[in-house]
Amino acid sequence: YDYIKSNNELMIATDANWAPYSYINDAGEMEGFDVDVGREIAKRMGVEARFITPSWDIITSGNWNMRWDVSVGSMTPTETRSEVLNFPAVYYYTPAGFAVHTDSPITTLAGLNGKNVCTTAASTWEMYLEGSLDMIDAPAFTYKVTPGTITSLADGHTCLDDTRLGAGVRNDGIIDSIPMIQGAIEDGYPIRFLGDPAFFEPLSVATDKGNDDPELDAEIARIIAAMKKDYTLTMMSMKWFKNADGSSNDYTIAF
Amino acid sequence: MNTKAKNENPVISLDGVSKWYGDFQALKDINLEINLKEKIVICGPSGSGKSTLIRCLNRLEAHQEGKIHVSGVELHETMKDVDIVRRDIGMVFQNFNLFPHLTVLENCMAGPNWVRGIDKKEAEKRAVAMLEQVKIPEQADKYPDQLSGGQQQRVAIARSLCMEPKVMLFDEPTSALDPEMVSEVLDTMVELANSGMTMICVTHEMGFARQVADRIIFMADGEIVEQNTPDEFFNNPKSDRTKTFLDQILI
């Protein structure tokens, strides 16, 4: 932590692949909910924020070797991840939900049982479909769908594109984060939500276990708690997570 | 020596043949008839179009004007059966062009077996016979690179003979050879001539020409300047260019 102070710079890793969490805006700069949260953490530490964008695999492998200090990248804390990373503070929850093609005959979650559901490979959503989700600090949830086949693709976008081809063509439905599906719908994809959110996953700031720094972890936990308390986080969530009708979502609490 | 027999159904006839490489005219209005069993020797200074002429006969080169008939078939740009004509015309190159990845025997069997459809046994028998005729049956299992130049050239001759051609073309077959090897190749060719093969040879071996040729054709600048029997040609050349050429070559 002293190191960060003396450099006057907090290096924040985040995968720039996910609007509206963190992405590259039209001016070619980083922007998004995670980015705002990261900036705020740095501000409250009294240092400058600097973002770098290594791939998800690299961030989650641990052993950061002080290339960056924290990850503010919507990471779900799981048992296995906690072997290499510390999760000092959960800063919001994101709902995961199912969706199907607008022409799909399926109307209830149960309708997806035994069907072909598409999702991102090695994601929490896939673990949910497999019934093997092991989140830490997670709100309670139940497994509501037991698909017949799970099509897991490296890139979640491909699932959305496949669904677009028609109901039952390449899959019968998908599971993804609700904001992501929302974005696709707004972009004109012929899909609709199916049922309520399936589960809420907690998303946390992460630090490197290989370079254990309890002081840093404590500081982050303190800052996140303060940000929750003065509603900074809520404001940010309202700013970034908007529904089609213009209303906003506060994802800092699970319900 | 046979007597010349003009115009009685020639194997090869050229009728006003001209050929250009780009702007340069390599053959100029060539008229020529060659009969079965005739032995023709073509000579002339370098660049006079000798190679070009005989390469037109099996259409390794294309002529642009005039007509060439081989066994009655006209050679032209869009003919379907040039392969069949080529099978009837054996050709021996200055630098042998044996297939280096095949043994001597395989080189000789390739033609009969692959394009004439003769079965392997038969093709091998024929190949061995031809290798015996050129006197190197013992080299059958070697690769071309392991042979001397003279041996390679004799294999090339045997390879052509295996196709049982009606006519053999030779383009300076001895000029890439060490002198010790020239005579062994010439011996082979003389034997072949005596067996009655129709032959057209580009060569400067005047001894060979005297011994076997029915007719000697002298070319210069893409034209046939003179053609005659060897006796007449050597002893009584008609044109001045022939005289100059003979003076140079028979010093």
Partner: protein, 325 residues
């Protein structure tokens, strides 16, 4: 290749062939229904609403298409060779564009915004891509020469190290090499940044492939050239540089061109280290607005343009060295 003097006749100019061709093409266009494409719309004055035109519409569309196709072939076949090639290229290019267009792409997307998306990609990504590729290519070539010499030497250590190197770095996936260098070297006490890691991994991997190419090239030069050079008192390096390598260029260049082109695109793998190169920019910008494919295609066009430049350089080098041989 040495072309035969018996050219197949321009079969296109024979009526029977032309008729056959037309019928085949017609059948083809008929089998793959093109009624609902842009052609259908184009012909709507004749066939009415394409969607409802049914069998008659399909027939008309395919008939018109096949007429266009055959006429086109016929016209081109009368042109000179260079012009033929040029026209066919242009037509194929537009066909490709039409294919891409069939994805319902919002092509305007890449030009909107201030700065426009495409400018963003080029300004932030292209330079990095070219820089990383160029440096890696240079290093890989150097490695390849050393590697080829080692593989051809009769020194046990040199041979073993070089052959282990080519085997390992050709054998492991490039992505893993990037990970290992980026994450592994710090464990040994070398802190190495993202761009140097990327360049190191690309150079080592492509160096291994190119070692094999250079080895084959050097081996193809006859022994006599070595002997003559030695007899003149040339030292090893001089022989290699001035006598052997220049002669092996015609053999080395075509597969090396392949490697350069492949490296250009594989350089996008370093984006996993957070390097903002061309592909990274394309993916990240595109995924935000769900215009993935537009951006990917834009990136692809840029790669293609770079490839064509490399191909032209390659062709020029080949021509130069073929004249002398």
């Amino acid at each position: 290749m040495f072309v035969d003097t018996v050219i197949e006749d321009k079969s296109l100019h024979k009526p029977a062939f032309l008729l056959g061709l037309s019928i085949t093409v017609l059948a083809f266009f008929f089998a793959f229904n093109f009624t609902n494409t842009i052609f259908g719309e184009f012909l709507s004055p004749v066939i009415g609403n394409p969607q409802e035109s049914g069998f008659f519409g399909r027939l008309v569309v395919s008939f018109v298409l096949s007429i266009i196709f055959v006429l086109n072939l016929l016209l081109i076949s009368f042109a000179r060779l260079k012009i033929q090639i040029f026209i066919v290229w242009i037509e194929l290019f537009f066909l490709f564009l039409a294919f891409a267009y069939s994805f319902d792409l919002e092509l305007a997307y890449i030009f909107i915004g201030e700065p426009s998306k495409i400018w963003l990609m080029i300004s932030k990504g292209l330079f990095t891509t070219i820089y990383i590729s160029a440096v890696s290519i240079a290093i890989a070539t150097a490695i390849a020469i050393v590697g080829a010499i080692a593989k051809l030497s009769n020194n046990g250590f040199a041979y073993a190290i070089a052959s282990f190197y080519t085997s390992l770095f050709r054998g492991l996936p490039l992505l893993l090499q990037i990970y290992l260098i980026y994450m592994g070297l710090p464990q040994l006490g070398f802190m190495i940044d993202a761009i140097p890691s990327g360049i190191a991994a690309l150079s080592l991997c492509y160096g291994a492939y190119m070692t094999e190419i250079f080895r084959a090239g050097i081996q193809s030069i006859p022994k006599g050239q070595w002997e003559a050079s030695r007899a003149l008192g040339f030292k090893f390096g001089l022989i290699l540089r001035k006598i052997i390598l220049p002669q092996s260029i015609p053999i080395i260049v075509p597969p090396t061109g392949n490697q350069f082109i492949a490296m250009l695109k594989d350089s996008s793998l370093v984006s996993v280290l957070g390097i903002w190169e061309l592909m990274f920019m394309a993916k990240k910008i595109g995924s935000k607005d769900f215009n993935n494919l537009e951006m990917l295609l834009t990136a692809a066009m840029i790669y293609w343009a770079l490839t064509i430049i490399l191909e032209m350089i390659q062709a020029r080098i080949e021509r130069k060295y073929q004249q002398k041989a």
